[in-house]
């Protein structure tokens, strides 16, 4: 079974705090992704990484950064949390094949972040 774990299910932080969300996979997949999920908006891609130390911006990268020092771990960083970053954050992984048909993504359980 594919296992994607996220460091916390629920997190409450204050405005201005630095926040780290961690994602760990045990599948040796090349690609890792961070999304946020908001009601009525579906999932929106924040950042993704297709190799260690490589990253690409997604559709809504503002206010976020990422780090991938090891293949199995992908961190999302909120440098200074704001209330509009209250959301559900989902990590996903996929194989690194260039053929899209293989690029099914597997999701972690999510972290519900509340910024007060």
């Amino acid at each position: 079974d594919v296992k994607v774990t996220q460091s916390s299910r629920y997190l409450v932080k204050r405005t201005g705090e630095k926040v780290f969300l961690e994602c760990v996979q045990d599948m040796d997949h090349e690609n890792m992704f961070w999304y946020r999920q908001d009601p009525g908006l579906g999932l929106r891609l924040i950042y993704f990484s297709y190799d260690v130390k490589m990253k690409e911006k997604g559709d809504i990268p503002e206010g976020y950064s990422v780090s991938r020092e090891k293949k199995e771990r992908f961190s999302l960083i909120l440098e200074s949390a704001s209330t509009n970053q209250t959301s559900m954050y989902l990590c996903a992984i996929s194989r690194g094949d260039t053929v899209p048909s293989y690029n099914e993504q597997f999701f972690g359980p999510g972290t519900r972040l509340t910024v007060l």
């Binding site: 009525g40 579906g42 690194g96 899209p100 048909s101 690029n103 993504q105 597997f106 999510g110």
Partner: protein
């Protein structure tokens, strides 16, 4: 650029009746298309995927979807709804960008199943 439109934000059916969740897509290339399901307080799970083989795709739990290029649609169906099908469903289109794939999600359809 690719996009996905899920035509209904909420669908309600009676148990035992058919389910139809509608999805239209836009893509510059031959797309890969997916349906994911999210049960309350659970992660997203892949239901089925279309990858340019057969246009009628069968997935888990009795769901299937038909790729219709002329209509740019990928509607999800099930002949008989079960109470356990109550969840949120996402239609997704995929393209490859750089060395990675990029998924574009629809806004979701919440399915309610009445006893």
């Amino acid at each position: 650029a690719q996009s996905v439109t899920q035509l209904d934000s909420h669908v309600s059916v009676s148990e035992g009746t058919p389910v139809l969740l509608r999805c239209n897509y836009s893509s510059s290339y031959s797309p890969s298309l997916f349906w994911y399901v999210q049960h309350p307080n659970k992660g997203l799970q892949l239901l089925l995927k279309y990858t340019s083989a057969a246009t009628l795709v069968k997935g888990i739990n009795g769901f299937e979807a038909e790729f219709k290029k002329s209509e740019t649609s990928f509607h999800l169906t099930k002949p008989s709804a079960h109470m356990s099908d109550a969840a949120e469903y996402f239609c997704v289109v995929s393209e490859t960008r750089g060395s990675g794939d990029k998924l574009t999600f629809g806004t979701g359809t919440r399915l309610a199943v009445r006893p």
